[in-house]
């Protein structure tokens, strides 16, 4: 079943077009890799799908609701209640402990602090971070910080996890551990994942991939072409 889809998306930054008629369909429960060279528009596409950017033209539908015509407030609640995010850099709040960082989406959604922290501790345990809950981001390694970010992305049980180059700042082994945990947790929770990456080895964790080229989306298959 289709959970998220976009048709004919166009978006320019000044006179530079980033999306030029992009179409994409994301099925419920799948892990979809969005690949493409630098500057192809893949991150812009993710930001549009996630309701962070509004396209200049085209439609975005999530679970039967039109996203591109929502108000900023509606998009903000959609992001908070239905979506989770993992980015490449700078996502943990440095003043907060790992535990508080993970609990943040629940606190913002109005969950009681003690309950939010209990949930956060459980997620840290699932991702192999037992005992590190009191540390701040400066006291964590890159791989640990990214696992905390992953726990934060998943703690509110989002329908879709958007991950933009989630292993971009990690070495290969640590990156693979993060991907393994991301894919395993998403499968357990039935969370749909939209994963932007330029790394084939990261994209290989997904069920399928699409390529963004010159602001358009191509779904390639290994069938012979005539």
């Amino acid at each position: 079943m289709t959970l998220l889809e976009a048709h004919d998306l166009h978006l320019s930054f000044g006179s530079t077009p980033a999306l030029r008629g992009a179409d994409i369909t994301v099925r419920e429960g799948e892990i979809l890799a969005v690949m493409g060279p630098s500057g192809s528009g893949k991150s812009t596409l993710l930001h549009c799908l996630a309701g962070i950017l509004v396209p200049g033209q085209g439609e975005i539908h999530f679970d039967g609701r039109r996203v591109d015509t929502m108000s900023e407030t509606e998009r903000s609640s959609l992001r908070r209640d239905r979506f989770g995010f993992v980015f490449q850099f700078g996502q943990l709040v440095p003043e907060l402990s790992a535990e508080e960082n993970v609990a943040l989406p629940l606190l913002l959604a109005g969950v009681r602090r003690s309950k939010a922290l209990t949930e956060a501790r459980a997620w840290l345990g699932r991702l192999g971070l037992d005992g590190l809950g009191a540390r701040t981001s400066g006291e964590l390694s890159g791989g640990q910080a990214q696992r905390v970010a992953l726990a934060r992305g998943l703690v509110a049980r989002p329908r879709v996890l958007f991950a933009d180059e989630p292993t971009g700042a990690l070495d290969s082994l640590t990156g693979e551990q993060v991907m393994d945990l991301m894919v395993g947790s998403a499968r357990d929770e039935g969370t749909t994942v939209v994963l932007v990456t330029h790394e084939p080895r990261v994209a290989a964790y997904a069920d399928r991939e699409v390529i963004v080229r010159d602001g358009k989306v191509l779904a390639l298959t290994a069938e012979a072409v005539g």
């Binding site: 290989a204 964790y205 069920d207 290994a222 069938e223 012979a224 072409v225």
Partner: protein, 175 residues
């Protein structure tokens, strides 16, 4: 396996004498390892035996250089199938991919589509190997990693080549 198909592909461009065919092959594909005349003529005679090329313009008493080889429909179909179908991804594919891309450009075929199809086949194999890694033992995982790194190297070459296709087409067609 690639040499007969590459020679057939060059013959699809235009009928050639054996000597010219060897020169074409060496210019595009044999810079480090030119074909011997013996290999060219033995390959051509096998291709003729299998009905993939025919000889025209044979002059009485002429040596092998006076034979002009023309590709048949069967030969052209074989070239088409070879170019169109992705190669099974495995280490050390690059020479075959290089030959296919260069020939596709020489013959005005959709080289970008061939690369895209090959890319999809590579990604499919990488997904299978990643699944092995996630469910297998450490030994399985190390073996899968070895294959993954090699296939990824091919994939990077495919992406780089796709990005340079226009310039490559210009260079190849000017030769």
């Amino acid at each position: 396996m690639t040499v007969p198909l590459t020679l057939l592909g060059l013959l699809e461009r235009e009928p050639r004498h054996g000597y010219d065919l060897k020169r074409d092959y060496d210019a595009f594909f044999g810079r480090d390892k030119p074909l011997s005349f013996g290999q060219v003529y033995s390959t051509l005679s096998r291709l003729a035996r299998d009905g993939k090329v025919v000889i025209s313009d044979l002059e009485a008493g002429a040596g092998p250089d006076r034979k002009r080889y023309v590709i048949t429909d069967r030969g052209a179909t074989e070239v088409d199938t070879w170019l169109t179908e992705p190669v099974a991804p495995e280490p050390h594919l690059q020479t075959v991919l290089f030959a296919k891309v260069t020939l596709a450009l020489l013959l005005d075929r959709p080289a970008e589509h061939y690369l895209d199809t090959q890319r999809a086949a590579h990604m499919q194999r990488m997904r299978e190997l990643t699944a092995v890694k996630r469910s297998g033992s450490l030994v399985d995982s190390l073996l899968a990693d070895h294959a993954l790194f090699h296939i990824e190297a091919d994939l990077r070459w495919i992406d780089l080549t796709a990005a340079r296709l226009d310039a490559l087409a210009q260079e190849v067609r000017s030769q």
